[in-house]
Symmetry: C2
Subunit: 218 residues, 2 copies
DNA sequence: AGGATCTGGTAGACAGTGTCTACCAGGCCC
DNA sequence: GGGCCTGGTAGACACTGTCTACCAGATCCT
């Protein structure tokens, strides 16, 4: 099938698959090689160490996440709507691809200190993403300010970058805690008739957006 | 020294120490046994598997965190001040004991599905903590509402549990992203003359609290 | 007192892991 | 055709977690 593609890419594919199905803990170097149909020493030609392969898998995760964001944002028109879609996508990613989400933030595995400097460090994968995010927050707030300027004083609030950082933290924490199962516990038992798209999740998401961007002025 | 204490406790102590100094990745069963001065089979008498020992270490982390919270809350008087102290403690914990913080949320390692049911699952360690949290948020908001009832309509807002969940998520995400290094990147280079108690951190924390609890009405 | 039993630990084996090294088939160039 | 580089194989090494057999010493029973 994908025989013509380079082994390097195939190893990452197999790795992603393994992380998604078996969890992020058991992604052995040898197991990946086995499933890719090569000997256990073969990956070494492309990834000098196990961590390097895991980093590549994690990087793939950030790319997927970015693509998911782009698709989500494209589906909405207003900045607020786009942020909401983005938030939903963030949490959904953590839930649907939990193994990948876990792996992506394991800085003990990825992005080791001894990494060659030709590859950007994995941490910086989040940087353009955050820039996009800050832009949306800024637009969202300038719109709100414009609407408010009519009937009240224009309270300053923190700069957009700070708000964006706070909001991003919130989404990230929500995604992780939800994936971990703590928020379900905290918010009580599920309604039991709720669809996979849990509506407690949606209420929490809108509460978070309202908190950081102000309630929607419909 | 601590020779009289049971080996079980000593293994956990050594494990915590190892996690704090060497990181959460390399906490081998044999290494712990070695540093505790016993043979590599000894831990098995108390922890049937490696995961069980790691879970015990993680549980110790939650106990430490709870103690830190208690101390932080005791230092403040108003609910808002207590929440602020708690927030600071959360982030500080993640930074100062990064290895432990990482370990505590690794649900792939801890709290395995095959765990004996006599021990409460690790996830539920966060439950009383969250209850305390919700109480503080409720008090904080009822105070604010009382102050506001004079000069405006009492807007409803989400129930305290939802606000508490949102705020908790925010603190958690902030702690993790900060520990990971992403927020430092996102907020730009540090002022370079900032003390270890980075003031960007404090500004972000107050921004987060303001967002969820409303700005402080001094 | 003396034998049985239980506690808490030692020591060795086993499969599996990541890393390292030697080797080697095949294409390519001069 | 000989030398060299590419991309991979195969085996060794140290190390890991788990399992099993064994065993010193305390405790208990009669």
């Amino acid at each position: 099938m994908t025989d013509e593609s380079s082994l390097r890419e195939r190893l990452i594919d197999v790795g992603v698959d393994l992380v998604l199905t078996e969890g992020s803990a058991s992604v052995g170097l040898r197991e990946i090689a086995r499933r890719a149909g090569v000997s256990h020493g073969a990956p070494r030609r492309y990834f000098p160490t196990h961590h390097a392969l895991l980093s590549a898998i994690g990087r793939r995760g950030f790319e997927d996440l970015a693509a998911m964001f782009e698709a989500a944002v494209a589906g909405a028109t207003t900045p607020r709507g786009q942020l909401e879609a983005l938030a939903r996508a963030y949490v959904r990613y953590a839930l649907e691809r939990r193994g990948m989400f876990e792996l992506m933030w394991r800085h003990d595995l990825l992005d080791g200190a001894a990494q060659a400097s030709d590859q950007p460090r994995l941490r910086e994968s989040t940087l353009p993403l955050f820039g996009h995010f800050t832009g949306l927050v800024a637009r969202c707030r300038s719109e709100r300010d414009a609407a408010r300027r009519a009937d009240g004083p224009n309270e300053a609030g923190p700069p957009p970058a700070v708000t964006a950082a706070a909001l991003w933290s919130n989404l990230h924490g929500m995604a992780q805690l939800w994936a971990w199962g703590s928020l379900q516990l905290a918010l009580g038992a599920p309604p039991l008739d709720s669809a996979p798209g849990d509506d407690r999740r949606d209420r929490l998401i809108t509460a978070v957006l309202d908190a950081h961007l102000g309630p929607v002025t419909s």
